[in-house]
Amino acid sequence: MDQLTSSLAPPRNLPKSTITVSPPDVAGSVTKRLSNELMTLMMSSSPGISAFPKSDSNLFEWVGTIEGPAGTIYAGLTFRISISFPANYPYVAPTLKFDSPCFHPNVDISGGAICLDILQDKWSAVYSVHTILLSLQSLLGEPNNASPLNSDAAALWDTPDAFRAQLMKLYRPPSDTSA
């Protein structure tokens, strides 16, 4: 008996105490930053972009919505994206991907991965969800055809009718029950 309890008790306690002390502090500041960003985003009335945490218990996973800007080929379409923040945000960029299929030169049509400089090497801690979403929205109208992720789309970009046809073929409006 003695052996059992003595062998069980200490190892259980030690790692517990070391784990519980440090991460909440880090998580606390990240959570604070994220809820501030949420507040800013909610209060800014930028048309056509929006995002919200998936659940109230986890602030690190968000769902976003981007409407295609008027006057572009994507006008009238709505795309759902998912945003996941790393634990060391904002020092590391969040990961974004399209959940709705998006036919775009810089978007992977099957995986939804996005090729946007500020999400990779140009990331800076001063960016926020709001600025990312705005960049993403403008990327829709002005793709960077120099480094395409979807070469088919890049090829079709100069023929808007064909592009639009292909876009609409693949487009699925976001369903309502994603939650």
Binding site: S35, L38, L41, M43, F52, S55, L59, V63, D176
Partner: protein
């Protein structure tokens, strides 16, 4: 064929019986004596018709006794009893006849006296047929049983009614003081006939009714003095006296009587308490209204409740009455609060531990919580607002700091458990501080402090003569209640008032101005209604000038004008007259514009003063119309009256009349002594937005969040929305509040709902 043995046995038996009867007399002489005795005895016992005088005879009791003794010796008494009972049964028709006659008579006249006569007559029958006492209990009892059984079987149902009326007639009358003869012989008769035992419940009910009617008659609406002592007095003088005959019958001494009266007396006393308790319970709502003039009634109720367990009933009645008479939209919040405070005080009298109060107060508190102006009313009465006159707080009551609900101190040697009928969430609020109770309607006192600031802001801005002593005093009082820290903001507000006087003096000394602003610290004041009035002309210049002086005095601060809150003292120099007026800034701004040109249309006026809504613009212009300075020639077109025109009351001239308008000289407009940049407007709207408006403002923030989550997460249930709103800073609404908010949003077609799921209406 009988055997010899049997024959011998029969013969022996016969011989034995014979010997017993003959008693060893010679021959059959013994037998003869017995038969004579038998005859005498049976003749005596035979029931007679007492209404027939012929059948009545006087007996020689000695003979009779001897005869019975003889029968007894021969052990023939049981047989004789059987014969006797048989005889009685045969003659019962006589009694039946008698009862029928009396009862039919009674049914015609409904006079209880007939019943009394019947009873006495029946006693005569009973006595006439009764056996002599020497025969012992057994025969007597058997006789009584037979007689009563028969009697009860023939009494018609109307007898019970008559009997009750008869009993009632013996009671002392409720209205008069005279004591009716209690008629002891009648009660003796009842006892003889066994009527008393049979109708005991009936008799008691007569007394109960009597007590009830007396209590209701003498005590209803009499709340000023305790009535219980008088009632007890009445009981002992009247009712107990009466009780001697029915209940203490057969008592030899006073002690015996007292002992016998104890049982029923307690029952009646209980009933009296219960009746009074019921009465007061019915009246409780009005009693509370009348507090403190109804102190007597409360004392009574307290005493009664200790004797009668009607607490649950009291709570039920009061709750129902409150629901019906108090907690509805027609009742003023002030009245509800007053009644609540009275309820607190009244129920504390009745039930010091506060269990009743807790149960009754709960619905009131819940209701008050839903009323938007509750806090305002409480706060107003806290500071003894003028219009609310009689403050809820008793002036004489010492001011206590707010009590925090304290946890129970089990180490206290005087600790007592919660009362037995306390609910699970009962909190003993021992202290009798009404304000603490009122403040505890809400979960936190922060709400109060916030509303207090709003109220203070209004009152400070309303002070014109610069005397803030009263406000200072109030704040000091409230500090004791709410604590120093909570009222720090109020303290700053007060300081602002005196500071702005000082600053103004300084600025004036540098550069005299006719403007005297009140300078307040934005962070510490509740949100004041903002307005986008731009003062035209000289007002603007005055403001700019003042602001310049101010910024040299206090370089780190900047003035933000709230021009709409001030008042302006104006002198208008018109061609034929001078108009002096104290007006709101908007009105001043408008009239200044008329110095530019004489005719303005409303649509041209509005952009010149920034943006105001049409209705307040019209209202401002109406002031000048009333003063006869402006005239509305056609709709929404206003003309300055350089020369006064005859008022055309009520009539709006349809066509513009050319007339005195063509003067080229502009009116000399002299705006002097613009009293303050901020000073109160006696307007319908309070200058400081109330808590309610602030809440609406907050809700707009939350709407953004709701919109955000519904955009991204699709349709959500109400629970989910409530949970997600935790992400919004400071969200503290209940799900019910959210539900009504969502419902409002649905009415505005912002959202739609399907299967309890909400989504945006797109």
């Amino acid at each position: 064929m009988a055997t010899t043995a049997l024959r011998a046995q029969v013969a022996a038996k016969w011989q034995e019986s014979f010997n017993r009867m003959n008693k060893g007399g010679s021959g059959i002489s013994g037998l003869m004596t017995f038969s004579r005795a038998w005859e005498v005895a049976t003749e005596f016992l035979r029931p007679k018709d007492i209404s027939d005088p012929a059948s009545l005879r006087q007996y020689n009791l000695v003979d009779i006794k001897n005869a019975f003794a003889a029968v007894n010796q021969a052990r023939r008494l049981p047989v004789m009893l059987e014969v006797y009972m048989d005889d009685i049964r045969k003659h019962q028709y006589l009694i039946t006849r008698e009862v029928t006659t009396y009862m039919s008579h009674y049914e015609q006249l409904m006079d209880p006296e007939i019943i009394a006569k019947l009873v006495l007559r029946l006693v005569e029958w009973y006595d006439a047929w009764a056996p002599i006492p020497e025969l012992g209990h057994t025969i007597r009892d058997a006789y009584t049983l037979t007689f009563q059984t028969h009697l009860f079987s023939i009494l018609p149902p109307s007898f019970a009614r008559g009997f009750k009326a008869l009993c009632a007639s013996t009671l002392p009358s409720v209205s008069t003081d005279s004591v009716v003869d209690a008629r002891p012989h009648m009660w003796a008769a009842f006892e003889t006939l066994g009527l008393f035992d049979r109708y005991e419940a009936l008799i008691a009910s007569v007394v109960y009714q009597h007590i009830e009617s007396h209590v209701v008659k003498t005590c209803a609406g009499q709340w000023a003095e305790p009535v219980l002592p008088n009632l007890r007095d009445w009981m002992s003088k009247k009712v107990v006296k009466w009780m001697f005959s029915p209940y203490a019958r057969g008592a030899k001494t006073m002690e015996d009587a007292a002992l016998m009266l104890q049982g029923p007396g307690q029952r009646f006393d209980f009933h009296m308490s219960k009746t009074l308790c019921d009465l007061r319970t019915r009246e409780i709502f009005s009693i509370i209204i009348d507090y403190p003039d109804s102190m007597g009634a409360l004392q009574d109720l307290k005493e009664c409740l200790q004797r009668v367990d009607q607490r649950a009933e009291l709570v039920r009645t009061l709750r129902r009455a409150n629901e019906m008479r108090l907690l509805h939209p027609g009742a003023d919040t002030k009245d509800i609060l007053t009644q609540y405070v009275s309820t607190i005080r009244c129920l504390r009298v009745i039930d010091p531990p506060g269990v009743l109060l807790f149960k009754v107060a709960d619905p009131i508190r819940r209701y008050l919580r839903e009323r938007p102006d509750t806090i305002r009313s409480i706060v107003a009465s806290l500071v003894g607002d003028g219009e609310s006159g009689d403050s809820l707080v008793d002036e004489n009551e010492p001011i206590h700091p707010l009590q925090q609900p304290e946890t129970e101190d089990y180490t206290d040697p005087n600790w007592e458990p919660e009362p037995i009928d306390a609910g699970p969430d009962f909190r003993a609020n021992k202290p009798s501080d009404v304000i603490s109770t009122l403040v505890s309607i809400y979960d936190s006192k922060d709400l109060f402090v916030k509303e207090l600031q709003v109220l203070l802001a209004q009152r400070l801005l309303a002070v014109k003569d610069g005397n803030f002593e009263k406000e200072r005093r109030n704040i000091e009082i409230l500090k004791i209640r709410f604590g120093e820290a909570a009222l720090q903001v109020c303290e700053v507000m007060l300081r602002d008032m005196t500071d702005s006087k000082r600053i103004d003096q300084h600025v004036q000394s540098q550069h005299a101005s006719i403007m005297h602003p009140t300078i307040i610290s934005r962070h510490f004041w509740p949100t004041l209604e903002s307005s986008s009035i731009v003062m035209p002309g000289q007002f603007e210049k005055l403001q700019a000038q003042y602001a310049k002086e101010f910024s040299t005095f206090k370089p780190d601060k900047k003035l933000r004008w709230l021009p709409h809150l001030g008042t302006v003292h104006l002198e208008l120099q018109l061609e034929d007259r001078k108009v002096v007026a104290d007006v709101a800034p908007l009105e001043a701004a408008f009239i200044e514009l008329f110095s530019e040109k004489n005719v303005w249309s409303l649509d041209n006026l509005i952009p010149r003063v920034g943006s105001v809504d049409r209705s307040s613009a019209l209202k401002a212009l109406a002031t000048w119309l009333d003063l006869g300075v402006l005239k509305e020639d056609t709709e929404n077109s206003f003309r300055l009256l350089e020369v006064a025109e005859d008022p055309t009351p009520g009539a709006r001239p349809a066509i513009s009349r050319p007339g005195a308008t063509n003067f080229t000289k502009n009116p000399y407009l002299a705006a002097h002594r613009a009293c303050a940049g901020i000073a109160p407007v006696t307007d319908d709207l309070p200058p400081a937005s109330s808590i309610h408006q602030q809440q609406a403002e907050q809700m707009r923030v939350y709407w953004k969040f709701i919109e955000g989550m519904l955009t991204n997460l699709g349709s959500l249930s109400l629970d989910r929305i409530q949970a997600m709103l935790k992400l919004a800073p400071g969200y503290d609404r209940t799900i019910d509040q959210l539900a009504s908010f969502m419902e409002a949003a649905r009415r505005e077609e912002l959202v739609m709902t399907k299967d309890e799921m909400w989504r945006l209406n797109r």
